[in-house]
């Protein structure tokens, strides 16, 4: 029966090329536009660290003074150096890392290379195991190295390729900011998207090339960048100067393996805030948050509003295309009232006619899906030409490829329901008579 219906569907579609073409085109346009935007949305709202995002938390405290306070206000997005160091040393979580970003000049030993700036992450030892950064050679530094202000550096694969032509460079040295550092590890290609652990440096397609111990950075007063928010009379530090105590400028992440530990950690944060208030450092009542990775990304609205709007627009467009297809399909099915009447008179059940007509809708959906896929690929190519930071990430993955066909087929079958049902209501006798 399936083969027969398919044959009937193809014959019927061939007979009205113009109408069929219009339907396929409408479906393809709608699917193409919505899949393009859905893919961009999918890429942007993806999990940067699958499998671990639920165990990684971002504690927030409120060390600000009383100026401009409102009751429902969220605490600042980063921590001060004092709080960061306190929480780091408290070691109340399974793992914890304090960090900030910057850029440091690199003076290559090879004289044919000019000095250049590299993006740096200043952090502490737990960073690498906590975020599962993959090592090509060597390992990260240890907590003891943090305490000793070791001049150890972990470099990215791209930098290793540039400086050492990809050879194992562990144990060799590199000159950063006028100081010699020992390479302890080389990271394999690693670029979590979004750049969740520090959203100030650009949310997408951003990767550091060197990782340095934060404690050593503080000692050497290396350049930092990213955001710093200050209150009272604390000025925002410029290049070469660290922000003052009344500024938040560091990110602090903890790993808490069970929900119970997360609850206990939140209690700890409340107690810590209360202690700081008692000691006179904090002025506000304890106001803490503990968000995991996806909650943190959501809170920061990492997906640009423009992309959400465009996605909504694309789906509105798909809806119009579908209504359009319903109309065209209705016209097409009703025009064949005579033929359907004959089939009914010869004993075909309504169910059989319905199945036959839906098969026709399905064929339109599949062809439209192929067209939509091509249009989506073209659309994504257009997106990649745009100068936004996420542009390079806009690629169709297998899941979205599959989704394209499912969406296309479901949408057209849905669009075929009403016309098919209407066509099945035809009284066979009436149709036979008029012929």
């Amino acid at each position: 029966m399936f083969g027969y219906y398919l044959d009937l569907a193809l014959r019927s579609l061939k007979r009205h090329r113009m109408l069929t073409g219009l339907m396929v085109l409408a479906i393809a346009l709608g699917i193409g536009a919505s899949m393009t935007m859905l893919t961009v949305l999918h890429v942007l709202s993806g999990d940067p660290i699958p499998g671990r995002s639920a165990q990684l938390y971002y504690p927030q405290l409120d060390p600000q003074d009383l100026k401009g306070m409102t009751s429902s206000k969220e605490p600042p997005d980063q921590v001060t150096l004092i709080d960061g160091q306190n929480l780091l040393r408290a070691k109340r979580a399974d793992r914890q890392a304090l960090m900030t970003g910057g850029s440091v000049p690199l003076m290559p030993e090879q004289s044919m290379l000019d000095p250049f700036y590299v993006e740096a992450r200043y952090t502490s030892a737990d960073f690498f195991p906590m975020f599962e950064a993959p090592f090509l050679y060597g390992t990260g530094w240890t907590a003891a190295d943090d305490d000793a202000h070791a001049r150890d550096v972990v470099i990215a694969r791209s930098l290793n390729d540039k400086l050492f032509q990809g050879a194992n460079s562990v144990g060799r040295s590199v000159r950063l900011a006028g100081v010699s550092w020992r390479i302890v590890g080389v990271l394999d290609k690693w670029q979590p998207n979004p750049h969740f652990y520090d959203l100030n440096t650009g949310s997408f397609a951003y990767a550091e090339q060197v990782f340095l111990p934060l404690q050593t950075m503080l000692e050497l007063r290396l350049d930092r960048n990213g955001s710093s928010d200050c209150w009272g009379n604390s000025g925002g530090g410029a290049a070469g100067i660290l922000p003052m105590d009344g500024c938040v400028w560091l990110q602090f992440w903890v790993e808490l393996d069970t929900p119970a530990k997360a609850a206990a950690y939140k209690d700890f944060l409340l107690r810590y805030s209360q202690d700081q208030k008692t000691a006179g450092r904090f002025q506000r009542a304890p106001n803490v948050r503990l968000r995991n990775v996806m909650q943190w990304l959501d809170y920061n609205m990492v997906v640009p509003d423009d992309v959400r709007l465009q996605t909504g627009l694309a789906f509105g467009f798909l809806l119009v295309c579908l209504v359009n297809t319903v109309g065209l399909m209705l016209a097409k099915f009703m025009r064949r009232a005579g033929e359907l009447g004959v089939r009914r008179a010869l004993g075909a059940s309504r169910r059989a006619l319905f199945a036959q007509l839906l098969m026709e809708a399905g064929v339109v959906g599949l062809v439209g899906g192929v067209g939509g896929l091509l249009l989506a690929m073209f659309g994504l190519w257009l997106v990649r030409q745009r100068p936004s930071d996420y542009a390079a990430l806009a690629h169709l993955d297998p899941a979205m490829l599959y989704a394209t066909f499912v969406l296309s087929l479901c949408a057209t079958l849905l669009a075929g329901l009403l016309p098919a049902w209407r066509a099945c209501q035809i009284a066979p006798a009436l149709q036979l008579k008029s012929n």
Binding site: Q310, F317, P419
Partner: protein, 408 residues
């Protein structure tokens, strides 16, 4: 015009009628909201920047390490740039209009004020800035060279004199007398006297969150001694690309302990401006193309369904023609029919459009949709419907009366 029989006929095609009306309604809802967004973004693209971008370029310089006497190095760089034969003038700053990065802060009437009176971008500049950028000073005077002093990044920004834009002046002093008055660039700072008013000067930012103060800027006669500085250079007319090459070479000849990115380190202002507005321009292009395709799809749908109806009613048309109806009667019949359906769609679409806009106001901080955009959208769709129905209607009008006598 006999509307009654048209409505009676439409009753027999409920599903088709409802579908066309629905499609027109949805299209109207999307198109008029999109038009409104296009209008807003386009307004942003054409907002005054205040500077003459022709023959202007920027050199982004970063010192390697932390040199001790940045002031001397910077002054040497600027002197070298000003001496180039292809260059008219140059100055050093931390940021430039539309550049993307910069300083901005609340502007106050007094040093102990808690809430800011207004907000502005602050540019570190010198007495050459107005000439290099081609700004229009509408009142007051430029900085004198003896007023330009170096500023350590650790110290607060509190220049004794400042030049502000008219937009900022009006926000701070709504009576229009800003010249000679004092403003504060932050709590606890010293006052700055307004010595000049600029016609326009855009902030470094083009992101939506900074739109509220896009033309509120202040010039400060301070040389910021930071590791990174931008040199804004005006080339002689027609010598832009030569000047850009010469600038890089002369700076490296002077001192090579610096980084000027080989690709983005020297950038002409046209490119810089295009980059700043690329996102808004992209949104306008996307919205516009979606609108066009959407209207085309809707038109195709109307053509398709009407053609079907014409085919279905050939007998009836033939009978009407045989009974004395003229070709124009048949034509107006179909045009009127479409007009009635379109009106219903437009009414429904207006409701959809306003609902969609209310949702966007709530979720995306969009502005309320002015009714004029609904009207424009409605006119477009009514015309589109009439245009789309014209071809099938003409075909219908050419149905010969003799059809009535034949069996189909």
């Amino acid at each position: 015009m006999q509307i009654r029989p048209i409505i009676a006929a439409l009753r027999r095609h409920k599903a088709g009628t409802v579908l066309i009306a629905l499609q027109i309604a949805l299209t109207l809802a999307i198109v008029c909201n999109a038009l409104f967004m296009i209008r807003q973004r386009a307004a942003k693209l054409s907002e005054p920047v205040g500077i003459d971008t022709r023959d202007l370029f920027v050199v982004k310089n970063e010192w390697v390490g932390q040199p001790h006497d940045i002031d001397a190095l910077m002054r040497a760089d600027i002197a070298a740039l000003r001496q180039l034969p292809q260059v008219v003038d140059a100055y050093a700053t931390d940021s430039e209009p539309l550049g993307g990065n910069g300083w901005d802060s609340g502007i106050l009437h007094s040093a102990d004020q808690r809430r800011e009176t207004s907000h502005a971008a602050q540019y570190f500049d010198d007495d050459h800035t107005i000439g290099v950028l081609g700004l229009h000073l509408i009142a007051g005077r430029n900085f004198r060279s003896d007023e330009v002093v170096p500023l350590d990044p650790q110290s607060p920004t509190e220049p004794p004199v400042t030049i502000i834009t008219r937009a900022l002046a009006l926000r701070m002093f709504p009576d229009g007398h800003a010249l000679g008055k004092t403003i504060y660039f932050g709590p606890g700072t010293k006052p700055s006297t307004v010595i000049g008013i600029l016609d326009h000067l855009h902030t470094p930012y083009t992101i939506a969150s900074s739109d509220s103060f896009s033309d509120q800027s202040a010039l400060m006669p301070l040389r910021l001694l930071a590791n990174h500085s931008d040199y804004v250079v005006r080339a002689k007319p027609g010598q832009l690309s030569d000047a850009m090459k010469a600038a890089r070479n002369s700076l490296f000849a002077l001192n090579n302990a610096r980084v000027i990115d080989p690709e983005t380190g020297v950038i002409d202002y046209g490119t810089l401006r295009a980059t700043a507005y690329a996102r808004d321009r992209g949104m306008v292009e996307l919205m516009a193309s979606i609108c066009v395709v959407l209207l085309a799809v809707t038109a195709a749908g109307i053509v398709g369904l009407t053609s079907f109806w014409v085919g279905q009613r050939r007998r009836q048309i033939g009978v009407r023609r045989a009974l004395g109806a003229k070709q124009s009667d048949i034509l107006t019949y179909f045009l009127t029919e479409n007009f009635l359906i379109s009106i219903a769609g437009v009414v429904l679409g207006t409701v959809f459009a306003l609902a969609l806009n209310l949702w966007m106001v709530a979720s995306y901080a969009q502005d309320h949709l002015p009714l004029i955009f609904v009207c424009i959208g409605a006119v477009i769709l009514l015309l589109l419907g009439q245009g789309a129905v014209l071809a099938p209607a003409l075909r219908a009008s050419r149905v010969p009366p003799v059809v009535a006598t034949r069996s189909v």
